[in-house]
C-alpha cells in the first residue's frame, strides 16, 4: 500500500483540470453556463449562486461528518477563525479585493493555525481542547485587529471584507462562485475515491497502519480537504459560523442512520438544503448575512432529528421508557395475582388484596386489572372478585419463573441474603432475555437445585399471601 500510486492519481486529476481550465478559461466556461441557462430559461445569476453555495453545503457537510466521527469537530472551527488574519493580510498586500488571493491568505493562515495546534499539543503537552481554544481566539483577535486596520484604508476598496465575518453570498461574482463550485466538486470526488481508506482511517487507524496503509499521509489528505472546504466556505458563511456547516449536518444525519454509507449522503443533503435556504433568505432580505441563516436552517433540521429520529431520537426514547413501564406494571400485576393465589389457583382476590401486595393505590390496581381484563389475562367472578384466566396464568407463570430463577441464582450462586434478593429480582425479571433464563436454568440444574415443577418456590416468605385477605 506504500508507493506513490494514489498520489499520482490525485496529481493527474489536478493536472487534467488545470490544463482544461487553461485551454478553456473561466470567461468562456461561464459563457457556456450562461448560454445553457438562457436556452433552458433559467436565471443565470441565481443558478450560479445556488450551484456554488449548494455544492459548498454538500462538501462541507460530508467532509465535516468525518471530523465529527473522529471527534475533531472543533478543528474546523479553529481553522476557520485562524483564517481571518490571512484574509486581512492578503488584502493589505494586494490592496484590492482579489478573491483568489484572499482565499490563499485564508488557506495559509488557516493551515498555520492547524500546525500551531499540533505543535502546542506535541511539544508543550497542552491538551487538545486548550490548544484549539488558544489558537482560535488568538488568531481571531489578530484577524479583527488587522481587519480594522484595513477598514481605515482610505482607498475604500475594502468593501466586502466584512462579508468574511458572517458570510455574504450576495457579494460574490460569477468567477468567485465558479471557484467555490469547482473546489467543492473536487473535494467530493476525492472523498468518493478514498471512501474505503477514509473509513478505515476514521474507525481504526492502528489497524490501518498494520495493514500498510500510509496513515499519516491519509490523515493529512483528510485534514487538507477539511481545510479546503473551510476556506472556500468563508466568503459565503463567514469565519465565525463556518464550523456549524461542518458539524451540524453530520450530527443531524447520525440520528437517522447507523451506516456511514448512508450518513454521508444524508448529511450532504442537509448541508445542501441549509445552504440554499440561507442563500435564498439573505438574497431577498436586504442586509441579512448568509451564515447565520444557514446555521439556523441546519440547526432546525438537527433539532428535529434529535427529537423525532427513530431509535436514537428523544421521542423514541420516551416511548421506549413508557412501554417498559407499562410492561413492568403488567408483569408485576400478574406476579402479584399468582402469588396471592399460589396455594389455591382457582381462588379469586379483590383489588384491595392486589393493592396491598404491591403498595399500589386501590384505584391504580383497579385500572391495571381492567386493562388486564381487556387483554384476557384476568376475569371478574360473579361476586366481583378477580381471577386469572388460563392465558393469564400462563403469562404469570413465565414472569414468576424469571423472578424466582434470578432470586435462586442470587442466593445460591452469588451468596446474597434471601431477604435482599426480592428487590433486585423485581427490577431484573422484566429485562432478562430468554437465553439468559435458559443459562440460569442450566446452572441451577447442574447444581441439582432445579425444582421438578416449572416454577421454583420462592426463597423468601411472601407477604400478604392467601388466606387472611379473603
Amino acid at each position: 500500500m506504500s508507493g506513490p500510486a494514489p498520489w499520482l492519481a490525485v496529481l493527474a486529476l489536478a493536472t487534467l483540470q488545470a490544463v482544461l481550465f487553461a485551454l478553456v478559461g473561466a470567461d468562456r466556461l461561464l459563457g457556456w453556463v450562461q448560454a445553457a441557462c438562457a436556452s433552458a430559461g433559467l436565471p443565470y445569476n441565481t443558478v450560479m449562486v445556488l450551484a456554488g453555495s449548494g455544492l459548498l453545503g454538500i462538501c462541507s457537510a460530508v467532509i465535516g461528518s468525518y471530523a465529527v466521527l473522529r471527534r475533531r469537530s472543533l478543528f474546523g472551527d479553529a481553522v476557520a477563525h485562524a483564517a481571518l488574519p490571512g484574509i486581512a493580510l492578503a488584502y493589505l498586500i494586494a490592496r484590492e479585493r482579489h478573491f483568489f488571493s484572499l482565499l490563499m491568505g485564508a488557506l495559509i493562515s488557516g493551515v498555520l493555525g492547524a500546525m500551531v495546534i499540533t505543535w502546542l499539543r506535541q511539544s508543550t503537552r497542552t491538551r487538545q481542547d486548550a490548544a484549539i481554544g488558544l489558537v482560535l481566539s488568538v488568531f481571531f483577535g489578530l484577524g479583527i485587529v488587522l481587519t480594522s486596520a484595513v477598514q481605515r484604508d482610505p482607498s475604500g476598496a475594502h468593501a466586502g471584507l466584512e462579508g468574511f465575518l458572517l458570510g455574504k453570498t450576495a457579494g460574490l461574482i460569477s468567477q468567485d462562485l465558479l471557484l467555490i463550485a469547482v473546489t467543492s466538486a473536487n473535494i467530493l470526488l476525492l472523498v468518493w475515491l478514498f471512501q474505503k481508506e477514509f473509513l478505515l482511517l476514521s474507525f481504526d487507524p492502528g489497524f490501518a497502519a498494520v495493514q500498510r496503509w500510509p496513515v499519516p499521509a491519509l490523515d493529512i489528505l483528510m485534514m487538507t480537504l477539511l481545510v479546503a472546504a473551510t476556506v472556500i466556505g468563508l466568503p459565503a458563511v463567514g469565519v465565525v459560523l463556518m464550523a456549524a456547516m461542518l458539524i451540524i449536518p453530520g450530527v443531524a444525519a447520525r440520528f437517522w442512520t447507523d451506516r456511514l454509507a448512508a450518513l454521508l449522503p444524508l448529511s450532504g443533503v442537509i448541508g445542501l438544503g441549509s445552504a440554499i435556504a440561507g442563500t435564498y433568505v439573505s438574497s431577498i432580505r436586504e442586509g441579512m448575512p448568509t451564515g447565520p441563516v444557514i446555521v439556523l436552517a441546519a440547526a432546525a433540521v438537527c433539532l428535529f432529528s434529535m427529537f423525532a429520529a427513530p431509535r436514537r431520537g428523544i421521542a423514541a426514547g420516551v416511548l421506549r421508557r413508557l412501554r417498559m413501564q407499562e410492561r413492568v406494571a403488567r408483569q408485576n400485576l400478574l406476579r402479584s395475582l399468582y402469588e396471592l393465589v399460589e396455594e389455591a389457583p382457582d381462588s379469586a382476590v379483590t383489588a384491595e388484596d392486589v393493592a396491598g401486595k404491591r403498595s399500589w393505590g386501590v384505584a391504580d390496581a383497579l385500572k391495571l386489572l381492567r386493562r388486564a381484563e381487556a387483554r384476557g389475562e384476568v376475569r371478574r367472578t360473579t361476586d366481583g372478585r378477580w381471577t386469572l384466566t388460563d392465558l393469564g396464568l400462563q403469562r404469570a407463570l413465565d414472569v414468576v419463573r424469571a423472578h424466582r430463577l434470578w432470586e435462586l441464582y442470587l442466593v445460591e450462586q452469588a451468596s446474597i441474603a434471601a431477604d435482599h434478593v426480592d428487590r433486585d429480582a423485581d427490577e431484573l425479571e422484566h429485562i432478562l432475555p430468554p437465553e439468559m433464563l435458559h443459562q440460569l436454568e442450566d446452572r441451577l440444574k447442574q447444581k441439582g437445585r432445579w425444582p421438578e415443577d416449572r416454577v421454583p418456590a420462592s426463597v423468601h416468605p411472601l407477604e400478604g399471601v392467601a388466606g387472611e385477605g379473603r
Binding site: 474505503k196 481508506e197 481504526d204 492502528g206 495493514q211 447520525r254 442512520t257 447507523d258 450518513l263
Partner: protein, 268 residues
C-alpha cells in the same frame, strides 16, 4: 520492477528457517520515559504464545512497538528474517477492544470486511468474493446472524469476536492479539480459544497479551514473562515457574524505575 514482482514483494516473503518474530535489543519510551528496556525475543513458529506481566509492565506496548504503532527508541524487529515493515502483509492484528469507538456508524460485516482491505489495495471496493470471505470469518466466530447489526448493539464478548473475525479475514501467518480475552464471558472465552487452537493447527503463530495467570498453562505453549524487560521466555513447562513469576510480579526493579525517572527529568 514488473507488476508481478511488485506483487510478490508486497505479499511478503518467508525465509527458510527464520523465526516468525525476532526482536533485537528493542527499547521503547513514552514521552521520553523508557517503558521497555533492551527486549530480545525469538519466538517459535506454530505456537500459541502468551505475553504476561503485571499492569504497566509494557505488554501492549511490546506488541505496538513491534508493529511500529509506537515509535521504537532503538532496536530492530524481524518477521521471517526481514524487517517487519516489509512483512506486514503476513500479519494479523487484534487491537484492544477499547481502542475504537463502538458507536461508529458501521455494521458488523463492515468491520470484518476491513480485514480484506489490505489485499484489495487502493480505491477498489469490496466485491462479492470479499463479502463471502468476511461472512465465512463471521461464521467461525458464530456471529453470522449479526452481520447487519450496528456494532454498538453487541455485547463486549461479541465485539471481541468481531475483532477476531476481522483478523481472520486478514489470512495472516503471524497474529498479534492485544487482550482478546479481556471482559468476555466464559462461553466466548472458550470460542476464542478454539479459534486460536485452530490457527495453531494450521501452523499459524499467535502472540497474545494475556492477563489471567490461571489459564496460561491450559491455553498456551509458550510464554513471555515481561516487566519492563523480558524476565524469561520459553516453553511453558520450562519457564512458567514460581520463581520466574515472583521475579515478574514482585515489583519493578527499583534501579530501572529510577533510571527511567532520571531519563525523563533530564529531557523535559
Amino acid at each position: 520492477m514488473t507488476a508481478t514482482q511488485e506483487k510478490a514483494l508486497a505479499q511478503g516473503a518467508v525465509a527458510v528457517d527464520a523465526p516468525p518474530l525476532e526482536i533485537h535489543d528493542m527499547t521503547v519510551a513514552y514521552q521520553r520515559r523508557p517503558v521497555l528496556w533492551d527486549i530480545d525475543l525469538q519466538l517459535p513458529e506454530g505456537r500459541l504464545i502468551a505475553i504476561i506481566g503485571p499492569n504497566g509492565a509494557g505488554k501492549s506496548t511490546l506488541i505496538k512497538a513491534a508493529l511500529g504503532l509506537v515509535p521504537r527508541a532503538s532496536g530492530r524487529v524481524e518477521v521471517y528474517g526481514r524487517p517487519i515493515e516489509k512483512q506486514l502483509s503476513l500479519i494479523g492484528y487484534v487491537p484492544q477492544r477499547e481502542s475504537v469507538d463502538w458507536d461508529f456508524p458501521v455494521s458488523v460485516l463492515d468491520v470484518v470486511m476491513m480485514g480484506r482491505y489490505g489485499r484489495l489495495g487502493w480505491f477498489r471496493r469490496p466485491g462479492r468474493e470479499d463479502r463471502e470471505a468476511a461472512m465465512d470469518c463471521l461464521r467461525k466466530v458464530a456471529l453470522q446472524d449479526f452481520a447487519g447489526r450496528q456494532i454498538s448493539q453487541l455485547s463486549g464478548g461479541q465485539q471481541q469476536r468481531v475483532f477476531l473475525a476481522r483478523a481472520l479475514a486478514q489470512e495472516a501467518r503471524l497474529y498479534f492479539m492485544d487482550e482478546p480475552f479481556a471482559g468476555v464471558d466464559a462461553a466466548t472465552e472458550q470460542a476464542i480459544l478454539a479459534i486460536l487452537q485452530e490457527l495453531r493447527s494450521h501452523g499459524r503463530t499467535v502472540v497474545v497479551v494475556h492477563h489471567s495467570l490461571q489459564t496460561v498453562r491450559e491455553y498456551f505453549d509458550h510464554v513471555v514473562l515481561l516487566n519492563m524487560r523480558v524476565v524469561a521466555h520459553g516453553p511453558i513447562e520450562e519457564v512458567f515457574t514460581e520463581e520466574n513469576l515472583r521475579n515478574t510480579y514482585g515489583g519493578r526493579l527499583p534501579l530501572l524505575e529510577q533510571a527511567a525517572d532520571a531519563v525523563q527529568r533530564r529531557s523535559v
